[in-house]
């Protein structure tokens, strides 16, 4: 136990010194147009190989439904929304396309971050707000996003990106609404970001 604490202290000191020395310089983000073409090709690959687009919020819906089902099975059984993600019971709900895709997203984001020296344990925030407040806003924003995404039948990935490329009417209306909502509310949030 003592040796572990000792190692941890040493590790902390080393990490602290490192940040002073700037051992790994974070590379600037890539050209947005090149990234856009790359992202578009990933989406196109999903269309051609799978016949479907990308997604993100769907995987968290599966996680939510599973949690509810574990805590209160009879409650989940009576709810049509949760049932949609739990399936008929023949296969594990985690054996799901979007769940695997999101695991890939985590891996891909991590890989890119490693290559560019951008892995950093921190809270992203503007200069005028405390980390604690920023985390409260992150949770609230996430909750609104989760609710909104379910109401809209998808998030920025499943609707805006995927439906946008397929010229889906509902997706384009959704995308306009997202930008309208964000720009309309940006003024009230300026202290958090600028």
């Amino acid at each position: 136990m003592t040796s572990l604490t000792h190692v941890l202290t040493k590790f902390k000191t080393a990490a602290g010194e490192k940040s002073h020395e700037h051992v790994v310089e974070a590379k600037p983000y890539s050209n947005p147009y090149y990234v856009g073409v790359g992202l578009g090709l990933v989406l196109l690959a999903a269309f051609v190989i799978m016949g479907r687009g990308l997604g993100a919020s769907g995987a968290l819906s599966t996680v939510t439904a599973l949690t509810v089902n574990t805590v209160a099975p009879s409650h989940a059984e009576g709810n049509q929304f949760y049932q949609g993600y739990l399936g008929d019971g023949t296969t594990n709900p985690l054996k799901d396309w979007l769940v695997f895709e999101v695991l890939g997203v985590l891996a891909g984001g991590f890989l890119s971050g490693i290559f560019a020296g951008r892995i950093k344990v921190k809270v992203e925030k503007g200069p005028r707000i405390s980390s604690k407040k920023r985390l409260v806003f992150a949770f609230l924003g996430g909750a609104l996003m989760g609710f909104g995404a379910k109401l809209a039948r998808g998030c920025t990935s499943g609707q805006a990106l995927t439906g946008g490329a397929l010229l889906n009417l509902g997706s384009w209306a959704f995308m306009m609404a997202v930008f309208a909502g964000a720009y309309a509310f940006a003024y009230f949030m300026r202290r958090q970001w600028t």
Binding site: L41, Q80, W97, A107, F147, A149, A182
Partner: protein, 201 residues
């Protein structure tokens, strides 16, 4: 060529999960490259100081749109087999507005919060937990709001069908719109940079 491959039975469901993981890696990699794992970059979009979100998203949409248009035109992809979600116009617009509020309050969307937490950001992790909480609230309220959820159904409808013009015409219109948006974004960033003393965030 018969695509989408999966729909033509080229591989099994289990293999499709491996495909999902690989496609996810590409997706997450590109999001991180674009700066989308950083809430400050994403939020800057809404203050016109950094228009990366618009540039990346619009370029991606245009790339995939032209690709799928071309591949369906030459008959390699059967477009009717590429999943298109049904339009329920009013709930989708209201959902979009709520999501927009959440975007500027929280700084991420679900996909970008995954990349953010994968690169060590606490705010990304907390945001993702918030999304789960929001989905839970939606799930609990679902019996009461399902009438609204299923209101104003329009079925599977594309912009070209809705406007009564050809597929190619809409593709061209979206490309022109994107080029205009890119020009405006580049110009806007320069104006904002001048205002902020020469710094593009």
């Amino acid at each position: 060529m018969n695509a989408p491959f999966y729909k033509f039975g080229f591989f099994s469901f289990d293999v499709s999960l491996i495909v999902a993981f690989v496609i996810g890696i590409g997706f997450g990699f590109m999001l991180e490259r674009g700066g989308f794992g950083n809430a400050r970059i994403l939020a800057a979009q809404f203050y016109f100081t950094n228009m990366r979100v618009l540039k990346v998203m619009f370029t991606a949409i245009v790339t995939a749109m032209i690709g799928i248009f071309y591949l369906s035109l030459i008959g390699w992809v059967d477009l009717s087999l590429v999943y298109l979600s049904d339009t329920y116009i009013v709930p989708q617009v209201i959902g979009g507005l709520i999501l927009g509020f959440g975007f500027v309050i929280g700084g991420y969307c679900p996909g970008t919060s995954f990349v953010s937490l994968a690169t060590g950001r606490y705010d990304g992790l907390v945001f993702a937990l918030g999304v789960v909480a929001g989905i839970f609230v939606f799930g609990e309220l679902f019996p009461y709001i399902s009438d609204f959820f299923y209101s104003t159904p329009m079925g599977k409808v594309r912009l070209n069908e809705w406007l009564g013009v050809s597929y190619g015409m809409i593709v061209l219109a979206v490309v022109l719109m994107a080029l205009g948006a890119f020009a405006a974004a580049e110009w806007g960033e320069k104006v904002m940079a001048k205002k902020n003393g020469g710094v593009i965030e």
